[in-house]
């Protein structure tokens, strides 16, 4: 009974340490500084997408900035998962959302909507040779949609769906509209149902393969969402919207972003090699893919490096905490805390930890710090066990030898045990660091554009999956290769004393 109470206590303590970040000062007070934070999901061109500079751009972004200008507030755009947007409004980490969001009764229960700024229609995109002509034809087919969008609702069979009634209709939900289109291009689905403008965009970019089907079954209104009851901001947005509609700014933006969405024609050529080179040029040069990737590479290296240092430092401390148990030959408070930490961190997915760190603890702010902390904390648990194993692998005689010469436990650790343990630890530690670099590829989920996310963006901008993804894979491989080389060199040096 008492034992288990202690264990529970240790676990709680660890949780407290983990949640310590919660009490970070949240430096956001929108009204005071006249900066409003606006969430979007920059994967819905032409309404929002990642521009050439790696920042969110698009019609929606231009609209909210124009409204800010006439109403006298600054706009800070935060890019996050579409599904997180409404939740972030409720928790207060966002002031407003503009993300091509359709007004629905369901959403109205959680947020308040401004006046509609755009009327959209769901279009069907199919292959050129398809015989699908209407929404009803999609019954029993495979349909790709963007997860959580109106297209998703429209195509999912259910009680209140009177068009798609066939239970065998298969709906594939993609994070991004472009992924849905790539899937259609690859023949994985029969049709894509998506908002009118992105649909027109996609078809214009793939005019040799795709065609558009207009079915006016569903029209919908896009509006800006604010937290429920935030009438002050809502009034400002509505009045701003009215003003920019009146002074012609709005129409200019429509012309610039939506109607003028230019077609990027890929040059076609009979020569396979020429075509490949053209493609390469198109994917990496013409659309500034290489810049995005270089930036992403920097982010991947930066996050991995900082998290690695943090992980090693944490792991070292945790290993020493856990070793008090070996020294005292019984469990100690320290070993229990470290044990609980390692247990919890190893028992939960890194992805979930990252989301908790970013959305719960950091309230969707300071994404980089959240990512570094999250990966560092995660890595620390594994590093701790590596270091502990490395220390335990040093013969007990070494400790006795040191102690018998009058060294304290700490001195023996420092001068005798640790220098030998490092040799045992390096291979496992290197392994962990390599894993860490690759594991950072999930930071895209907290809207950080790392190498993987950069590749992802290039896919959605070029509608080509092969080249960008292979390029990303090659860059990761090169990083790991370099790390392996460095590790081998370190190991060789440390093994000096083993030579006979």
């Amino acid at each position: 009974m008492k034992k288990s109470t202690k264990r529970v206590l240790a676990m709680c303590l660890t949780c407290l340490v983990l949640l310590g970040g919660m009490f970070f000062p949240v430096t956001k007070s929108a009204q005071a500084t006249d900066v409003i934070t606006v969430g979007t999901y920059a994967e819905f061109p032409p309404f929002e997408y990642i521009g050439d500079d790696g920042e969110p751009d698009g019609f929606d972004i231009a609209v909210i900035e124009a409204i800010g200008e006439v109403e006298g507030f600054e706009v800070e755009i935060i890019n996050m998962e579409f599904k997180s947007l409404i939740a972030s409004l409720s928790t207060g980490s966002l002031d407003a959302v503009i993300a091509g969001m359709t007004v629905t009764d369901e959403r109205k229960q959680s947020v308040d909507f401004s006046d509609s700024y755009y009327t959209a229609t769901q279009y069907i995109v199919v292959a050129k040779d398809s015989d699908i002509t209407s929404l009803a034809d999609l019954n029993g087919k495979k349909i790709a949609v963007q997860e959580g969008t109106t297209g998703d609702l429209l195509c999912t069979p259910g009680e209140d769906n009177d068009v798609i009634t066939d239970e065998n209709t298969e709906v594939m939900r993609f994070k991004k509209g472009t992924d849905a289109v790539v899937s259609l291009n690859n023949g994985g689905v029969d049709a894509v149902v998506i908002d009118k403008n992105p649909a027109e965009n996609f078809v214009a970019n793939n005019s040799d393969k795709l065609k558009l089907i207009k079915d006016d079954t569903s029209t919908e209104e896009y509006a800006i969402a604010v937290a429920k009851g935030d009438t002050e901001l809502l009034d400002k947005i509505n009045s701003g919207l009215a003003k920019i509609k009146e002074d012609g700014t709005f129409d200019k933006l429509v012309a610039e972003y939506i109607e003028g969405a230019e077609d990027v024609e890929t040059e076609t050529s009979g020569n396979v090699i020429q075509q490949f080179i053209n493609n390469l040029k198109y994917v990496f040069i013409d659309t500034n893919g290489y810049q995005l990737m270089a930036k992403g590479l920097g982010v991947t290296i930066g996050i991995s490096f900082c998290a690695g240092i943090l992980g090693i430092a944490l792991g070292f401390v945790l290993a020493l905490m856990k070793l008090t148990e070996t020294r005292k030959k019984r469990k100690t408070v320290w070993s229990r805390i470290a044990g609980a930490y390692i247990d919890i961190i190893r028992g939960t997915p890194a992805m979930v930890q990252l989301l908790i760190m970013f959305m719960v603890i950091f309230r969707s702010q300071y994404a980089y710090i959240a990512a570094i902390l999250s990966f560092g904390i995660n890595s620390g648990a594994y590093v701790a066990e590596n270091i502990r194993a490395g220390i335990l692998a040093v013969d007990v005689g070494q400790m006795e030898g040191g102690r018998s010469l009058g060294f304290t436990y700490g001195e023996t650790m420092r001068y005798i045990i640790l220098p030998q343990a490092i040799k045992n630890v390096i291979p496992a530690l290197g392994n962990e660091m390599i894993t860490l670099v690759k594991e950072t590829s999930i930071v895209g989920y907290v809207a950080i554009v790392d190498l993987t996310k950069a590749g992802d963006f290039i896919v959605s901008r070029t509608y080509q999956a092969f080249l960008p993804l292979i390029a990303v894979a090659i860059v990761y491989y090169i990083i790991v290769k370099i790390m392996t080389r460095i590790l081998a060199a370190i190991e060789r040096r440390l093994r000096q004393s083993d030579n006979r």
């Binding site: 013969d395 005689g397 018998s404 010469l405 304290t408 001068y415 004393s497 083993d498 006979r500």
Partner: protein, 242 residues
Amino acid sequence: MIIVKDLKKYFGELEVLKKIDCHIKPGECVVVIGPSGSGKSTFLRCLNRLEEPTSGSILFDGQDIMDRSNDINKIRQKLSMVFQHFNLFNHLTVMQNLTLAPVKQKLMSEEEAKKKATELLVRVGLAEKADVYPAQLSGGQKQRVAIARSLAMNPKAILFDEPTSALDPEMVGEVLDVMKTLAKEGMTMVVVTHEMGFARDVADRVLFMSDGYITEEGTPEQIFNNPQQERTKAFLRAVSNK
């Protein structure tokens, strides 16, 4: 030099040392013999508290080593130990093995320690091995380095825990020779060993341990030529038949 009174040691429920009393005088070479499991090594390891005694008192050079207010690390500087498995620091050269403790514990300057180490290596016949790593030495050489390392601390006494048990037979002699010289020079030594020849030739006094007690003690002649206890006789018969 070392006065042990009523020493007891339990490993959990197991009573390994039941009641040990003995007095080791300065300059004396005391050899502890006895069947395995009799507690010889445990007794030796209690003397510098590498093994925590359960009860009793141990005085070294007038200091009670059981007294928590006495710094055990300071005591160990003057009470060295040589181990069965040498316990040389594998990541350091022979020279560094000898100088690490004196220098880091600020007992000597780097130069002094090196000078002293060189002298000691000459004494154990390993002057040319100063810059090699332990992995490159034979077992006998390792143990001689270990003895030199314990001497580098300028100890008042040295504890030897079966120093030749892990050696190939042809290397035993070189280590015993070094120990013999040390004894002749008047170093206070407590030696746990199975080398009866060494006990007979070098010891000032022999302690026979069995079942957690010192059951018989005396000069080598008394113990080897005229043992009183049945247990001692049986042990000596067994080792001489080997």
